[in-house]
């Protein structure tokens, strides 16, 4: 392993250099820049493969390596090294990011073919890959934060990619800003968490912080970090994760982020970046385990988001927004699993991996559909596309089955694991297993409903509802080959890694071995119930959207539908709960500043001005008045001198 560890920095280096060349090279790189981007991403993927195969060859207990590069900053008691942590968790992410990333790069070559700024797009994509790899490979929270901000920047740049400054592109600018600002809220959490770690442990390295929470095994008292501090850190980290992963209550930006190009939605806002929060939770597992309260909050956040996203997804007619809601919901699953402790970590990451594949496939499929339908995104104007887009139809179908969790497709293996883990009873709190387990099953049912709705509204139905002049056709091979790869992944990845617990074992060095607990219900019962509700949900959707005719205009719908269409009033809630009070405070401060502070200080210049106005009258411009002033002054001085000195001298 040590002979190839030197390659590790190149994981980040290749895409970073690619981004630098594309950004600095300017128009000179326009002709071949996109292929350089693909190459950089692919090169990074090759390095990842080499490292992973070497790691598989090493014994399990040696699979966590901190590769020190150089000391980044040394300030007082804080020493931060620029180092890379290679372990199964980070390598899983490396593989996901580079593999899916490269496929999406290839897809983008065709998708962005007609865009005049394709080179810039690839530069940002490379920048994103580099930042994301920095995030997952960092050996300290501070370096992770660098990647964290890097992906935030790339996300911002790519959401606003089509912001041309014209009023018609305002939506893009607003969406980019919204994502950026909401991510900042989460970033504050990460910064606060780092500050807490530094004050408690004096370091922000994983290798120092995580063992410090666990103690030396002699009991909680030996831990450097008290339960209270751990809870605080855990909640701060959760805040960060909520921002980045669009979890409740910071979920509002994800739907709007779909304003960016579709490959971006697939790579950043479905497969990789938004899962960074889950990575952070799993990476900080020991902290959460030391803080049961924080853990409970994580689970609650996951459960709420899971239902929230699912409900929103049922009502969206925009194919990308429906997929975005689905992403939110699926990450809710992962978050829920991450809050369940060691029993859930592996399944959280597993689901993250499979989700990365099938959701990327679904998004790229959606992109392919949009490509075929002249950038139409309204599913009510699709329908009957299966005959015209067979490859897209089949690959999206695989993704659809995967997300539904139908065995043997990959979603089944990961999602079912999460549902089972949710049913594992927690000591002293028997309600938790029932509540969260039920929520997970319910979420699966709703997921089945909205994904089936999406699938059949797009491809099903005999009567197309296209707008006039549509001639749907499959895109170039550059577009459908990635779809095929992702479709295969959606179909098989779960089985390959899930049967026999291969993936769970692979992650064990990082997340620890989960003690086996029996769920409150027998496992076959859980699987059966889940499958039944999933099939029921899918059948309901099939009946409503494939058998019955879909109206081209959205019907008014019930109260819940209307609420879901408006994202369950998330924007209104943010507006009321945050923006308006903030406006109020700002206005208060403004008024206070203007009317109290400014006016208070204004007294001084006013006094000066008043004195000036009074003394201005002395400046009559009449030279005789001035002469009178001088003569009067002389007289006064003479008189005083006479009175003071002369009288004394006369004695």
């Amino acid at each position: 392993m040590n002979d190839v560890i030197g390659l590790a920095p190149w994981l980040i280096g290749f895409p970073l250099i690619g981004a630098a060349i594309l950004l600095l090279g300017g128009k000179a790189t326009d002709r071949w820049g996109h292929w350089l981007g693909v190459l950089a991403s692919a090169a990074s993927g090759v390095v990842g493969f080499i490292l992973m195969f070497r790691m598989i060859g090493t014994p399990a207990e040696e699979r966590s390596i901190d590769h020190h590069l150089w000391t980044w900053l040394s300030a007082g008691g804080l020493d931060v090294d620029l180092g890379i942590r290679l372990d199964p968790l980070s390598l899983t992410f490396v593989m996901l990011v580079t593999f899916v990333g490269t496929l999406i790069h290839v897809y983008s070559v065709a998708y962005m073919d007609h865009d005049p700024h394709r080179r810039r797009f690839f530069a940002y994509l490379n920048l994103f890959v580099a930042a994301m790899l920095t995030l997952v490979l960092a050996d300290s929270y501070l370096l992770l934060f660098v990647g964290w901000e890097g992906v935030g920047l790339a996300s911002y740049l790519l959401i606003g990619f089509w912001d041309t400054g014209r009023p018609s592109a305002r939506e893009n600018a607003v969406a980019a800003k919204k994502a950026f600002v909401m991510n900042r809220i989460g970033d504050m959490g990460l910064i606060a968490a780092m500050a807490l770690m530094f004050s408690a442990v004096g370091s922000v390295r994983f290798a120092d912080v995580l063992p410090a929470v666990a103690g030396d095994g002699t009991g909680p008292a030996s831990a450097l970090i008290s339960t209270g501090t751990a809870t605080a850190i855990g909640l701060c980290l959760l805040l960060a994760a909520c921002g980045k992963s669009a979890q409740f209550p910071l979920q509002a930006w994800l739907g709007d982020a779909m304003a960016g190009p579709t490959p971006v939605s697939a790579l950043i806002h479905a497969a990789t970046m938004v899962t960074a929060g889950v990575y952070l939770m799993v990476r900080s597992g020991p902290i959460l385990e030391a803080a049961p309260t924080a853990q409970l909050v994580v689970v609650i956040v996951g459960a709420v988001t899971l239902l929230f996203g699912a409900v929103v997804g049922t009502a969206k007619d925009d194919i990308k927004k429906a997929l975005a809601a689905s992403t939110m919901s699926q990450i809710g699953y992962m978050m829920l699993a991450a809050g369940l402790g060691p029993a859930g970590y592996a399944f959280a990451i597993f689901h993250l991996l499979t989700h990365g594949f099938f959701k990327a496939g679904l998004f790229l499929g959606a992109g392919s559909v949009m490509h075929a339908m002249s950038d139409q995104t309204d599913m009510r104007r699709f329908g009957g596309l299966s005959r015209f887009l067979p490859i897209t139809w089949i690959t999206m179908g695989l993704g659809w089955l995967a997300i539904l969790g139908i065995p043997p497709f990959s979603g089944f293996w990961s999602k079912d694991g999460i549902i089972e883990a949710a049913f594992i009873p927690v000591e002293g709190q028997p309600w938790r297993a029932w509540v969260f387990g039920t929520v997970a099953v319910l979420g699966a049912a709703i997921t089945a409903f909205y994904m089936t709705r999406l699938f059949f509204m797009t491809f099903g139905g005999r009567r197309p509802r296209w707008t006039e002049g549509q001639h749907p056709h499959e895109g170039s091979p550059l577009m459908w080959w990635p779809l095929v790869f992702l479709g295969v992944g959606s179909a098989a990845l779960g089985a390959v890694l899930g049967i026999g617990g291969t993936f769970t074992t692979w992650l064990e060095p990082v997340v620890g071995q989960a003690e086996h607990h029996e769920p409150v219900l027998p496992v076959p019962v859980i699987i059966t119930v889940t499958l039944v509700v999933v099939v029921l949900g899918a059948l309901l959707a099939f009946r409503m959207y494939a058998v019955q005719l879909v109206p081209e205009e959205a019907p008014r719908g019930s109260v819940l539908t209307r609420a879901a269409r408006r994202d369950l009033y998330q924007d209104a809630a943010n507006e009321t709960l945050v923006v308006l009070p903030a406006h109020g405070v700002a206005r208060l401060v403004q008024v206070g500043d203007r009317d109290v502070v400014d006016r208070g200080w204004g007294v001084l210049p006013q006094a000066v001005s008043w004195f000036g106005a009074v003394f201005r009258k002395a400046q009559s411009g009449y030279v005789r008045s001035y002469a009178a002033g001088m003569a009067g002054g002389v007289l006064v001085i003479a008189a005083v001198a006479w009175l003071v000195v002369g009288l004394g001298g006369a004695q």
Binding site: S620, Y622, R624, S625, A628, A631, G632, V634, L635, A638, A639, W642, G646, G649, A650
Partner: protein
């Protein structure tokens, strides 16, 4: 030095009491006369009297300088400027700045009172005098010259520079830049030719009428048609309305005038 101190002669006393009130009166004239020329004459009187007092006070050189410089040069300069500005421009004595008169009077009286009482109350040493009677004494111009060119030679030179500077400065200040080209006979003639279309005549205007009974600038001449020619009377008189009508022309003088033009 005369250890006995200075004795002021009776003649000087008489001189002082004659001259001093006159000086004060003349100075007050400066304050009260209307015309600047009269004020200048008052000041001339004050300065000449001052020269007399200097001579009486054992300062013959200064007395002469006072007459030459002040009365001869400075006051003449004043009079020249008065001529430039207008000799008869009398000064209105009504005050325009509110309260200035009372303030001025108050300050003037105050100064007089303060200065006078200071002088009156101060204890002066016994007067020494400058040995005015002794030709070799210090009061003569030679002694003054010795001090002036001995102790104060630098100041003397500086004052010389100051005078030169002042002279140049006065030249610069009063210098007038020519803004239009200088007019000569040719340009005047050209201008008149150019003004022909505007009704200007090149020839001299007709002279006023000369008659047996009235021979004056203010009566217009009569044209060949017996009508009055207005241009023949000075423009100033016409504007003031001081022109007089031409005397009646007897009808028989117009006998050669065609019938049709007679009443025109």
């Amino acid at each position: 030095m005369n250890p006995a101190g200075l004795v002021i002669s009776t003649g000087e006393t008489v001189l002082f009491w004659v001259i001093a009130p006159l000086m004060v009166l003349a100075a007050l004239g400066l304050l009260f006369v209307k015309r600047a020329v009269h004020a200048a004459m008052c000041l001339v009187f004050v300065m000449v009297s001052m020269a007399v007092l200097y001579i009486a006070q054992e300062a013959p050189f200064l007395g002469v300088v006072q007459v030459v410089v002040y009365t001869g040069a400075v006051m003449m300069l004043f009079l020249f400027v008065l001529m430039l500005v207008g000799v008869d421009a009398s000064d209105s004595l009504t005050e325009t700045i509110r309260g200035q008169r009372w303030i001025g009077l108050l300050i003037g009286l105050g100064l007089a009172v303060v200065l006078g009482s200071v002088v009156a109350r101060a204890a002066f040493p016994p007067a020494v005098g400058l040995n005015g009677g002794d030709p070799g004494g210090v009061a003569n111009p030679q002694a003054l010259a010795r001090v002036l060119f001995g102790d104060y030679v630098v100041a003397m030179e500086a004052v010389g520079v100051l005078l030169v500077t002042a002279a140049v400065g006065a030249l610069v200040l009063t210098h007038r830049r020519r803004l239009t080209p200088k007019q000569n006979q040719r340009s005047v003639a050209d201008a008149r030719i150019k003004a022909l279309p505007d009704g200007v005549v090149l020839t001299p205007l007709p002279s006023p009428g000369v008659y047996a009974r009235s021979n004056a600038m203010d009566t217009p001449a009569l044209g060949p048609d017996g009508e009055q020619v207005p241009q023949s009377v000075s423009r100033v008189l016409r504007i003031r309305g001081q022109e007089r009508p031409a005397p009646h022309v007897p009808a028989d003088e117009l006998v050669h005038t065609p019938e049709s033009e007679r009443d025109a």
